[in-house]
């Protein structure tokens, strides 16, 4: 551990050391690296540049849903299932930062204690630090670090979400949305937002009354309606009939979809985004019921995504990362002292309605080219 303690003055050197140690299995180096990533230091950037080419092998799975729907408990149950198959699993669990004090209570580990000392389980809590999309701004980078360090599965658990925190879908290969029984009627299921980005919908707390009914409603509205949009009318009628049937097939529901969430890739006559056709599963995370079926569903979704040349999730992730970095870089240039005067002057002009905001933005962009 000695090499870690000596702080080389050069961030590039420090980054190389940390990255090499982390890839080599040094968990403390990995933890330090994640701290650097969270703090967006020069060391983190240099390390990420080294690590990125080694990433891309892990299955990145986003877990999202309302507060109290059981995300952390589900993650814990998934860890058990994945470890039983010998795969290494990393977890990034995000909880909100206080907008008032900047403090945070990170409580997701409470539910993840069973594998606390397993070397092939690495759990990291992250505060959202003012970022509003359900993750921290650095969560995707942290997941890439775990990916590069050889974790087969990386679970990204969001803060408790409402209806529209859909950012996780860009950060993950597969997005799991949790619902609790009796969370709402069928109209909730057809609202735009979170459920639209789900590759798999999990009705957790399956031992509660109403779980079957909630799953049936979700299946009817999400799966059947998505198929009504497709050309196959005969299929549509059959699915509607199946969807209207109250859940009768035990814990493993919805496994009839051959390629979940991969709605008609390729053959669409009109080039318009198609709704996903998520699988709807029922789990009871506290007992493990339905968890093997969930893992099987995750594996199927991953295999389907790999079959596509570059999955749309990966492309969305690339775009989110590059555009965030681009925005940071532009921001940094605008914040440079030599531009500060012009920037302030333009802001003042916009504030006083002397200049419209589009013109101000154009002038700033022109300034960056000079």
């Amino acid at each position: 551990m000695g090499a870690l303690d000596a702080q080389p003055p050069d961030p590039l050197e420090r980054a190389r050391e940390l990255a090499e140690a982390a890839i080599g299995g040094d968990r403390r180096a990995l933890a330090r690296l994640l701290t650097a990533v969270e703090n967006r230091t020069a060391v983190a950037e240099a390390a990420l540049r080294t690590l990125y080419p080694k990433a891309g092998r892990a299955h990145l799975v986003g877990i999202t849903g309302a507060p109290g729907s059981g995300k952390s408990t589900l993650v814990s149950a998934l860890i058990a299932e994945v470890r039983a198959r010998g795969r290494a699993v990393g977890v990034i669990a995000v909880d909100p930062s206080s907008p008032i004090t900047g403090g945070a209570l990170l409580g997701d580990r409470v539910r993840m204690q069973s594998y606390a000392t397993d070397r092939d389980v690495f759990i990291r809590s992250m505060a959202s630090r003012g970022h509003a999309g359900g993750l921290a701004s650095t969560s995707a980078a942290a997941a890439a670090v775990l990916d590069a360090c050889g974790f087969d599965l990386v679970l990204l658990e969001t803060v408790g979400t409402g209806q529209s925190e859909v950012e996780v879908a860009a950060a993950a290969d597969t997005t799991v949305v949790l619902e609790a029984p009796e969370m709402g009627d069928e109209v909730q299921a057809i609202k735009a937002g979170l459920l639209e980005v789900a590759d798999i919908v999990v009705v957790n707390k399956g031992d509660r009354p109403g779980a079957q009914r909630t799953a049936s409603q979700l299946r009817a509205m999400l799966v059947a309606v998505a198929r009504v949009g497709s050309a196959d009318r005969g299929h549509h009628a059959a699915v509607l009939a199946a969807g209207a049937e109250p859940g009768t097939d035990g814990a493993a529901h919805g496994t009839d979809d051959a390629a979940p969430g991969t709605a008609d890739a390729g053959s669409s006559p009109i080039d318009r985004p198609r709704p996903k056709q998520p699988e709807v599963l029922i789990t009871t995370a506290t007992t493990g019921d339905g968890i093997p079926e969930l893992l099987a569903s995750l594996d199927r979704h991953r295999a389907a995504g790999r079959a596509a040349r570059t999955s749309s999730a990966r492309r969305a992730r690339a775009e989110a990362q590059v555009s965030a970095i681009l925005a940071d870089r532009i921001r940094a240039k605008l914040d440079a002292p030599e531009r500060r005067v012009e920037y302030d002057e333009l802001l003042r002009a916009v504030a006083d309605y002397e200049l419209d905001p589009f013109a101000a933005a154009d002038r700033l962009l022109d300034g960056l080219r000079r």
Binding site: A31, T35, A42, L106, R109, T117, R124, S125
Partner: protein
Amino acid sequence: MTDRPIKVLIAKPGLDGHDRGAKVLARGLRDEGFEVVYTGLRQTPEMIATAALQEDVDVVGLSILSGAHMTLVPRVCRLLREEGQNDVLVVVGGIIPDDDAGELRAAGVAGIFGPGTTIGEVAEFLRANARPRT
């Protein structure tokens, strides 16, 4: 680079189920601007040391009301040292007799907070003594 919040692990080693104090402190430190990882009840020293390592915390706060502190606390300190986490500040809260304080400090405990300590006092102590953050 940025002035990131101090990250604190609040854990309850051992078997007593009295977690009100730990939860109140976790909440209070949140309000003081700390990032608090709360791991809950019945933690072994190994679980606490692993969580401290994975979370890369600056401070480990142990809450014990069972009387088992002379066994559990030195073990947490030793495990942290073995992992190379020498710079992590360890503090203890709960029912700790004055006679035990010297031995706990010798084991590596930086601060001991008994009943009546305010959250402000704890926060001030942590800000003054936590490792410098990079």
